[in-house]
Amino acid sequence: MIEEKFASGQSFIHQLDPKIRIIASIVLSFAVALCDNLYIAGCYFIISLILIMMAKLKWIDVVNRLKPVFWFLLMIWIILPLTFDGEVIYQYSWLRITGPGVILCCKITIKSITILLLFTALIATMTIASLGNGLHRIYVPDKMVFLLLMSYRYIAVIEEEYKRLLRAAKFRGFKPGTNLHSYKTFAYLAGMLFVRASLRAQRVYQAMLCRGFNQKFHTLDVYPSNRLNLTFLIGIFAASLSLVIFEIM
């Protein structure tokens, strides 16, 4: 279930330094989030599509990945046009759809999809290991990077444990339903996960001590800087800066 589906490509984007990709995606995402003009948001959307193409990702996978957002957008489109104040563009008895509501929905739709596409193209295309490396080099504290890497490392192990526990419960005739017994059972399963996590943490810490861990994290920085990275970053900066200036004017 936990897979890094997009991380294993050979495209131009995949070859960029993780640090560069993280910075680029932060800059672009915030530029999009702050943008208030539908047309300019459209430009960002095109940029994000270009980045996805540059990363050579399969469209079907990308669309699948966006599914949770589509549900959210569906909800937005149902609620906002009806609840926003402003000029009424359509009325049917007490139902009134307002212009500002519809425009806001369009903006949210474009902006949210754009930000997620940027994230997919730039961040989801690296392994968590590279992400950790990149974060370390943009001066995210050691402990935070370590937390991320370590937590990722053990998710798969703990998930396996959860599956086995749930399987055992099912073998003993457990049928999840809307009742206290079910909630109690899930509480016990979750509790057991925390217990096992804690016991494993003890053993892992012991293993770290045995390997000479002395309260300091070291990392291997093996990304040589090259001109491509810089060019890409300058391109991204230039694009977002010009769009921001354009919007202000």
């Binding site: 444990e161 086995r164 526990l165 399987r167 055992a168 419960a169 099912k170 073998f171 003993r172 005739g173 457990f174 049928k175 017994h181 059972t185 016990y188 399963l189 057991m192 217990v195 096992r196």
Partner: protein, 243 residues
């Protein structure tokens, strides 16, 4: 029912894990009849656990048929009622015990079967007594020793009054005392079982015939034979069982 009616019948079962292209089970056939006490000894990774999971409907075979109590089982729904009639003891007891106390854990199955709490408690007490561990009742499962956990897991399975037991390496991690106890318990049971073990002495003590597995197929009694081998031991002053 006739005494040797078929309880579990696998025919021509093939299975491989998704993403792997070796068949763990390869056109496998197996029949467990009423009254059977079958042992299974086979190397690590030969697919024993997978076989048990297939019987329980956890691994969906690519081909072949599974019949339990004379009924053909096809989809998840068919397996649900069957699961409470087949008692599976997991390879690792830690995966099987998730309730706070021993009594809670043993009562979990009966509660799921629809017994009222008091009845479930009675059933559980009786089962614990049967295994001679009634004094564990209020112990916290997670703090029991490996052997104690195994016995509680067995009690949890027996409390559902299954018609057949599937035991996945019940002696792994147990010391000799607990093993002897387990031998007594199994021999006193009047239900059929199928037990995986790496220990010949144990398997021999609790079963009537021993199967093996190779290349995804079952090898029955006449295809395997007894073989002598060296082992290290303390001066045989204690009765011992090998691991």
């Amino acid at each position: 029912m006739i005494d040797n009616s078929s309880i579990i019948k696998l025919e021509d079962i093939s299975f491989s894990y998704p993403g792997s292209n070796t068949r763990v089970l390869d056109h496998l056939n197996l029949e467990i009849n009423k009254g059977d006490r079958i042992g299974m000894m086979a190397p690590n990774g030969s697919g024993k656990t997978t076989l048990l999971h297939t019987i329980m409907g956890l691994c969906k075979p690519e081909s072949g048929t599974i019949e339990v109590f004379g009924k053909l089982l096809k989809n998840e729904k068919d397996f649900i009622p069957v699961r409470s009639k087949i008692g599976l003891l997991f390879q690792d007891s830690d995966d099987q015990l998730f309730c706070p106390t021993v009594l809670d854990d043993v009562a979990f199955g009966p509660l799921n079967l629809g017994f009222a709490p008091q009845e479930a408690i009675n059933i559980s007490r009786k089962t614990l007594e049967r295994l001679g561990i009634q004094n564990f009742e209020h112990r916290v499962t997670h703090r029991l020793s490996g052997g104690q956990k195994r016995l509680v897991a067995l009690a949890a399975v027996l409390a559902m009054e299954p018609e057949v037991l599937l035991l996945d390496e019940p002696t792994a991690g147990l010391d000799n005392k607990v093993k002897e106890k387990l031998i007594h318990i199994l021999n006193a049971l009047d239900i059929s079982y199928f037990v995986i073990s790496h220990e010949f002495d144990f398997a021999k003590a609790v079963t009537d015939k021993i199967y093996s597995m190779e290349n995804g197929k079952i090898l029955t009694d006449d295809e395997i034979h007894i073989h002598r081998h060296e082992h290290v031991h303390k001066h045989g002053k204690h009765p011992h069982i090998h691991k």
